[in-house]
């Protein structure tokens, strides 16, 4: 069984590039050039030096002693929240902006849900002196104000999107429409392992630094690189893809993705695409999609804006289909409580997205020798309003 992308851009039956002809040249350019560019030695040097000196990598792998005692296992936290801008998203935006420069692009566009990817994109655009436009659903603009302010401070233009339900799906539509109209000078920095090939593979490669570091750090701390579990939340699936990547072929490592169950998996207000979706095409890729019987995409719901997406990366659809990874879900309430618990037992306020990953700990039936790595994908400063309801 392979979990790597095929020549044609598929993971099993998922992936591909289902795009209108207007995007063909851009996607074809990326497809034919991305591997050569990112494997080039000078690119690698530039990428890793920015990850180190600008983003602050490697991020610590922290042994969470009080959580470990509570759950009777050896729990480690991969501290992506300590990355510059407060989430794993910057790993991808550094990679993509360097790639955009190699392609000779002069403008950057991006979509964002929680605003973390928007901030990470605005940040690298400021770093490189490139103009940046971020599409963000109007609903998300309202519920993620601090990140909107950060993007503006960094010099980005934030365009509130009012079409559809005015959330992440609609912001992605609008970014794609803009790209169709500006194919020559613009690169679209997509924020997760979604979209037409080669985006899912490219973003996974940029994020794979997370699992490369975990292997090395676990070897130092536990004497071998293999945890029993790797746990990550899944929206589009980029932090999970990064945390799983270098363990995909180590079948004894259990990979667990956690989706957002919103008000309950069967409540009609959830964003758990793998649990609820059917095969379909969204934003240029074949994957599992939340939709009606007639093929209309349905609006997902989660308290967490970063998990509020009706599709999922094709890699995860494949891991789900093959059983290589197990996918669970957590409700709004479970996630909020887990976030509060981690704040008080470890002194770390996780992003609401990340809090979903912590929420499944009680369901894992851990034993005391189990080594668990939780990918702490981001910090929770942006979510204080939601957490405030609990205190």
């Amino acid at each position: 069984m392979t979990y790597k992308i095929s020549e044609g851009g598929f993971y099993g039956e998922y992936g591909g590039a289902y795009i209108p002809e207007m995007l063909w040249r851009n996607i074809e350019e990326l497809r034919t050039r991305y591997m050569d560019i990112i494997q080039d030695e000078s690119f690698q040097r530039r990428f890793y030096s920015l990850l180190k000196d600008f983003a602050g990598r490697p991020t610590p792998l922290y042994f969470a002693s009080r959580l470990s005692a509570q759950y009777g296992a050896r729990i480690y936290l991969k501290r992506e929240d300590l990355c510059h801008t407060g989430a794993h998203k910057i790993n991808n935006t550094i990679g993509q902006i360097l790639l955009a420069q190699k392609l000779g692009k002069t403008r950057i566009i991006a979509e964002t849900g929680a605003g973390q990817h928007g901030v990470a994109t605005a940040t690298v655009c400021a770093l490189m002196g490139m103009p940046c436009t971020v599409y963000m659903g109007k609903t998300d603009v309202e519920r993620q104000q601090p990140n909107v302010a950060r993007m503006k401070l960094l010099g980005a233009e934030v365009i509130p999107v009012t079409s559809g339900n005015a959330t992440l799906k609609d912001a992605t539509n609008e970014a794609l429409r803009h790209w169709i109209a500006h194919p020559l000078d613009t690169h679209y920095i997509i924020g997760s392992v979604v979209g037409p090939h080669p985006f899912p593979d490219m973003v996974a490669r940029f994020q794979s630094v997370i699992s490369a570091e975990i292997r090395q750090q676990l070897t130092e701390k536990e004497g071998n690189p293999y945890p029993d579990y790797v746990v990550a939340c899944v929206g589009g699936g980029s932090n999970a893809a990064g945390a799983f990547y270098h363990f995909l072929d180590d079948e004894h490592v259990q990979l667990i993705g956690v989706e957002a169950a919103g008000k309950g998996l069967q409540s009609g207000h959830a964003a758990a695409t793998l649990a609820l979706g059917k095969p379909g095409v969204l934003h240029g890729c074949k994957t599992l999609v939340m939709q009606t019987a007639d093929g209309q995409i349905t609006e997902p719901y989660s308290v967490s804006a970063g998990l509020d997406y009706p599709g999922v990366g094709p890699l995860h659809a494949h891991l789900f289909a093959t059983g290589r990874a197990k996918f669970m879900s957590a409700t709004d309430e479970e996630a909020l409580r887990a976030g509060l618990e981690v704040s008080r037992t470890e002194g770390i306020i996780p992003a609401l997205e990340t809090a979903h990953a912590f929420a499944i700990l009680p369901k894992l039936n851990l034993s005391k020798d189990d080594v668990v790595v939780i990918n702490l994908s981001g910090r929770g400063d942006k979510d204080l309003q939601a957490y405030n309801q609990l205190i």
Binding site: Y18, E21, R25, A181, D294, Q296
Partner: protein, 264 residues
Amino acid sequence: MNRIDKLFQRREKNILSVFYTAGFPGLNDTVTIARHLEAAGADMIEIGIPFSDPIADGPVIQRSNNRAIANGMTLKLLLDQVKQIRQTVTMPLLLMGYLNPVLQYGVEKFFTDAAEAGADGLILPDLPPEEFELKYRKKAMQAGIHVVFLVTPSSADERIRLLDSLSGGFLYAVSLSGVTGTRTSFTTEQDEFLKRLQKLKLKNPVLAGFGISNSESFHAACRLANGAIVGSAFISLLENSHNLQAQIEGFIHNLRSLPVPEGK
């Protein structure tokens, strides 16, 4: 013989094809509009299958899609409406839409059912040509339905030849960079692109679409292509309609009449 082929056999110039969204403005207007368009002198119709996330469309077509879905429009219902249209309407009819609703219906079943209902062609802009060739081309041929591909100014010549070889009936020239409904006048970019297509000596007739909104842009396109497709401008008219028949008649008449030369 396929009605699209018959049309181009009969006439090679000034073909006017009109695009509109199924189930808009009212659920059953799909049928009425087709009848009025034929009576008013359109040559061909393309009926859009509504989709929640039309990434290649501007605000006008987005709105019509949302409204059609809210009206209860489905692909199954559309096929029933096509049958009704075919009771009186004889001009070529194509269905155009994004892949996902068609995938849920079943691509092969859709080819058969659409042909049976009376459609002559399909346009599925996000169906990759390679996948069409591999998986579906035979089925389309068996069903006797044409699948029309899009070409754009950013398509390389080699790519255009591939799309032309797979395309049936005609080739849809998206003659500018952008989503639907964003431009109003014919630009040099469009002019150059259509000239480039002429030089490639393609097997299919070419219809120009996107940004054709009035008699000036229609005739400009017709000078370099076999005809043109009007979409957003027509849907805008339907958005504010009070008398469909009279308005559609007026719209087609205006589009066909030669524009007044500048300065007169």
